[in-house]
Symmetry: none
Subunit: 470 residues, 2 copies
Amino acid sequence: MNDLTVSLDPASSVPLYEQIYQHIKKEIQSGGLSFGTRLPSTRNLAGYLQVSRTTADMAYSQLVSEGYIEAVPCRGYFVCELEGLYCPGTESKERHAEKKPEEKKYRYDFSPSGVDLNSFPYGAWRKLSKNILMADNKKIFQLGDPQGEYALRCSIADYLHQARGVLAEPEQIVVGAGNDFLLLLLCSMLGTGQKIAMESPTYRKAYDLLGNLSNEIRIVEMDEAGMRIDSLEASGADIAYVMPSHQFPLGIVMPVGRRMQLLEWAAKSERRFIIEDDYDSEFRYRGKPIPALQGFDRSGRVIYIGTFSKSIAPAIRVSYLVLPDRLMELYRQRGRLISSTVSRVDQLLIAGFLDDGYYERHLNKMRAIYKSRHDVLLEEMRGFQGICQISGENAGVHILLTFKNGMTEQEAIARAAKEGVRVYGLSRYYIGMDDRNKTSRQSHTVILGYANVEEAEIRAAAGCLRRAWS
Amino acid sequence: MNDLTVSLDPASSVPLYEQIYQHIKKEIQSGGLSFGTRLPSTRNLAGYLQVSRTTADMAYSQLVSEGYIEAVPCRGYFVCELEGLYCPGTESKERHAEKKPEEKKYRYDFSPSGVDLNSFPYGAWRKLSKNILMADNKKIFQLGDPQGEYALRCSIADYLHQARGVLAEPEQIVVGAGNDFLLLLLCSMLGTGQKIAMESPTYRKAYDLLGNLSNEIRIVEMDEAGMRIDSLEASGADIAYVMPSHQFPLGIVMPVGRRMQLLEWAAKSERRFIIEDDYDSEFRYRGKPIPALQGFDRSGRVIYIGTFSKSIAPAIRVSYLVLPDRLMELYRQRGRLISSTVSRVDQLLIAGFLDDGYYERHLNKMRAIYKSRHDVLLEEMRGFQGICQISGENAGVHILLTFKNGMTEQEAIARAAKEGVRVYGLSRYYIGMDDRNKTSRQSHTVILGYANVEEAEIRAAAGCLRRAWS
DNA sequence: GGGTATTTGTCCGTATGTATG
DNA sequence: TCATACATACGGACAAATACC
């Protein structure tokens, strides 16, 4: 495809198809597109420009009718000869001062927090939003339930039951604006000074958050099955923060045996609870999905926390807690003091998104996309097997590379950066100051998140990384 | 060919390709089509179903994109493994029983937290919402600034400067999902165990919230000018929670002299801060609006908190803090850990609402409406001057009636209820257990909020109240 | 066993119906 | 009513795999 980097302005008064038409006409007149050149198909152009095919059609038809291009059925559109065409001088219009896009230092960015938004069902989202704003106006602008819209809680309960094996009544579910807020809410319910066990490395934000809220964080050792129970027991903690489905950042999936031990630990004291952060559970590529810890819990010790930020879009600030019965009284006393932090419109929107099957489709679609990228990345990384080891590749949207040739994390990052590829170090996720933790893994491992890197980009980036690291 | 005896309905509103897609998906989920099975070619299927090949194509590509089947060029479509796919049960989803809306026992409800939504500019809101969802899709679904969209903070800064005399740079403003959340955030920033001075009566929710967050609440005496400085000084508190523009529920407007004393108090120690809840400041009916306390603050001790919940609609969960410089460092360390709790769509929506002048128009409209109701209510209440005294009538959207004839709050409420009118007692807003506070005012005063009662209703309700209380 | 006809996924331009303002 | 834009549906052209003579 040629230089069809049209910058369309949907808000402009000049129609979309006109903008496209003008741009291509100029390209042809200036010689950027020469005789015989095949233009992108209407489908391609529409997909690339994020407009309807008809819009691309209209632009092309206008060019056809003016003799700039020719339509060959089943083959494509081709640029005509300009002979005899009246081409008014392309007055050298001064380009407006180009908005400086923040300089992209990196060609490829393997951010572990990336999310692909190209496949987001914008149309469905708009439609749902519109429908909600059209009907029931009065109601949705009145204050809603602090716990969240009942309809949404029902939808979440159904989803969690079917997809995650979580047993939850809508009455146990608390909807809130993001995991961060829900953790804050939880802490304000449980009171300060809790002794919370966390793994290292772990989800840094949760650590900073929980730690800042006057809790005592006890770092617990982990092995290949996740948090070690003996170390947990020894830590004296009452609350264990874990990610059994897919530990971040190591990607460990806690096996069933360890899960049972963890639940046994919790059942030993009235004060003990498990915070199950079901981060990234939606995406796994091997074997059957393991139901959430919460589904095995018989003694009401698991506080389940899930979010739509990763599975729908980061800006969707909707997360949910599933509280065990024994915490519901506490929630009613303290938690309900805080009015719902999610607008009713958004809540009903997501309820509709779930109920109408859009979420199912979107999840499966994203899983397919991420799996392709996952497979491509693993295939490309196979070339590195001599110098590094791959781990965390069974689930989630990132993998870990641990260098066996002594290359440090910083060096790997720096060398990749020189080739235009951004990778991330593992060490930033280690918590606590314990120097014994400075293992080789910590200082020789990088993270590659592939959620927002397309397959072709992955292949290209892999080439860069080969140059960088060999 | 398997059991693909689809019965297509060309007249249905659901598209042909969708019908085919749904049917095959169910067939795969139920096991009727198992892993590896080859599906009929698009031509065969199209011929069999008497539809175009493109239609069959579209059905198949959707199944491919969601990972149900795989396309092998020149060979056919094959069913994939279902592992990891989210397949909601095909069984008819048991709808959770909808919660019964509580029956309306009252003909007229003078709720102090009422808001009139009849004049809400639904059209403008929809239009803004649509425009935001149309343009810039990719951007607004990415994670935004934890502090809030810069555009919105600018809009708020402008508004606060012009309307409230608040001096704030956008950098000092923190946007969050409701006052409750912002108070929670503030507490988590300041740390637990703060000694906070509050008035009695006060905004109950703030008391419960601050009290539950392991703070020590010191109850401070008040006079007709609001919080008494000597009592505040004696309380030993470091933080004073006040509502200078319009104290809830008493409706006291703090005069300038007292404001200065309050600021002087705060300036005496590095640890002291004032939380200025500018609740209801938008609505006042007599005299010039007094600028916010924050505008007089020269020593950076005022934490200003405002909201759109009251002035736009209760379900609009958007509030904002204006932090003094000395707290910004603390915010950057701790507060920014929590991602924005308001969706970017909503933030940009409100920014547009402010920038395009809708907010100004809406405020003026509502002020006019509320003032009419206020005047009507006062006029009607003149008939009660023998038995009760009116107060708090200079601002806000409620007034207080204190009975001089010995009638207790409970009795007044009960007698009004018998006539179908709901009024509210003042005593619920008194905090602390101090029996000396059980003054006559406390136990003989009712609140009448008129925001959500139309003029005609006010007149009618006044008649009922006359019958009830005479 | 090698050439040819057929089948297949894929891509193409096109036409029509339908919301929206 | 008209312009714009999108969703749906149609049938032909092509290259590669496959089946058949």
